[in-house]
């Protein structure tokens, strides 16, 4: 397994975990607050496990990969970078991402690299609950025009999460026409802001441990 491909997934999970955690304290209900925050924490845990796997190959460590790379070196998809603070968009992104992630994880579980396949299987055991959560919200919001608008808007971004040969499967699964994907190249200012915030503590005291 190519280290750059694993970094894409790790970066997606880290940045989406961060974005979802922006709802902590202000989600639509207390129960949802706990659930969405817990999912966000899981995603960051997955990022960490993936960074650790890649770091052994690259001779570095997980924190360096997560926090010390130049912003241009982050490989995350445009879907997860966006700061979307309305619930329709947050859930549309969650639903599209989890559906794409299921396709990606299924492929990873078939990897010839035992460590990669093993980690993918572990992650998938937790993702089952993310998918359940995403689907129940998708079912509930389906008739809401605001939700449908959000899905339409984010759809080209969602396709960009996957490799080109996996996109048809995603289109079929969510019942949408395949369109031109927004690829992983270049980053928005929103990611730069997020990275500033995310690395604030680490930059203030380099090398600190706790």
């Amino acid at each position: 397994m190519n280290a750059q491909e694993l970094l894409q997934i790790a970066d997606d999970e880290l940045i989406l975990g961060w974005r979802d955690s922006e709802w902590t304290g202000i989600a639509p209900s207390l129960e949802e607050d706990v659930a969405f925050s817990s999912i966000a924490q899981n995603e960051i845990g997955h990022a960490r496990a993936l960074y650790e796997l890649v770091s052994r190959e690259l001779g570095t460590d997980a924190d360096s990969l997560a926090f010390d790379r130049h912003p241009s070196e982050y490989r995350c998809a445009a879907l997860v970078e966006q700061r979307r603070m309305d619930w329709a968009h947050a859930i549309a992104r969650h639903f599209l991402y989890e559906t794409a992630d299921e396709i990606r994880l299924a492929a990873l579980k078939q990897s010839d690299d035992g460590a990669v396949a093993g980690l993918a299987a572990k992650m998938d055991r937790e993702e089952v609950y993310h998918r359940l959560h995403a689907r129940m919200w998708n079912d509930r919001l389906q008739a809401e025009p605001r939700y449908e608008d959000a899905l339409v808007e984010l759809w080209p971004y969602a396709l960009g999460v996957l490799a080109p040969n996996q996109r048809t499967a995603l289109a079929k699964r969510v019942g949408r026409e395949e369109v031109d994907a927004i690829e992983r190249n270049g980053h928005s200012d929103e990611l730069l802001e997020l990275r500033e915030e995310m690395t604030m503590v680490r930059r203030s005291v380099p090398g600190a441990t706790w």
Binding site: L30, E31, A35, S38, Y129, M136
Partner: protein, 93 residues
């Protein structure tokens, strides 16, 4: 809708009331209970029950103070020993 959640801490242990979640339907209730009472590996299993399904029984009059209803009124041990003797199953106890 309010759903009451009961939590089993270890396999074989009795389920105990853990708290409640507010949810629009059972699917949401299960998902919310899963995260609220299971995300820290603190539960072996959960029961999620709509509050309406629970019947409360709360009136226990004892106007005449019939203390003989209480178990401490009897020495069951001795009665049990004699019964076992009669049945011939007392030996190994």
């Amino acid at each position: 809708m309010i759903y009451e959640v009961f939590r089993q801490e270890k396999k074989g242990a009795a389920f105990a009331h853990a708290g409640s979640v507010s949810a629009p339907n059972m699917t949401f209730a299960e998902a919310f209970a899963h995260e609220q009472y299971g995300r820290r590996q603190e539960s072996e299993a959960l029961w999620v029950v709509p509050r309406e399904a629970i019947r409360e029984v709360h009136d226990f009059p004892d106007e005449l103070h019939r203390t003989y209803h209480r178990v401490d009124g009897y020495s069951l041990k001795e009665k049990l020993r004699l019964a076992r003797e009669r049945a011939g199953t007392a030996a190994d106890r």
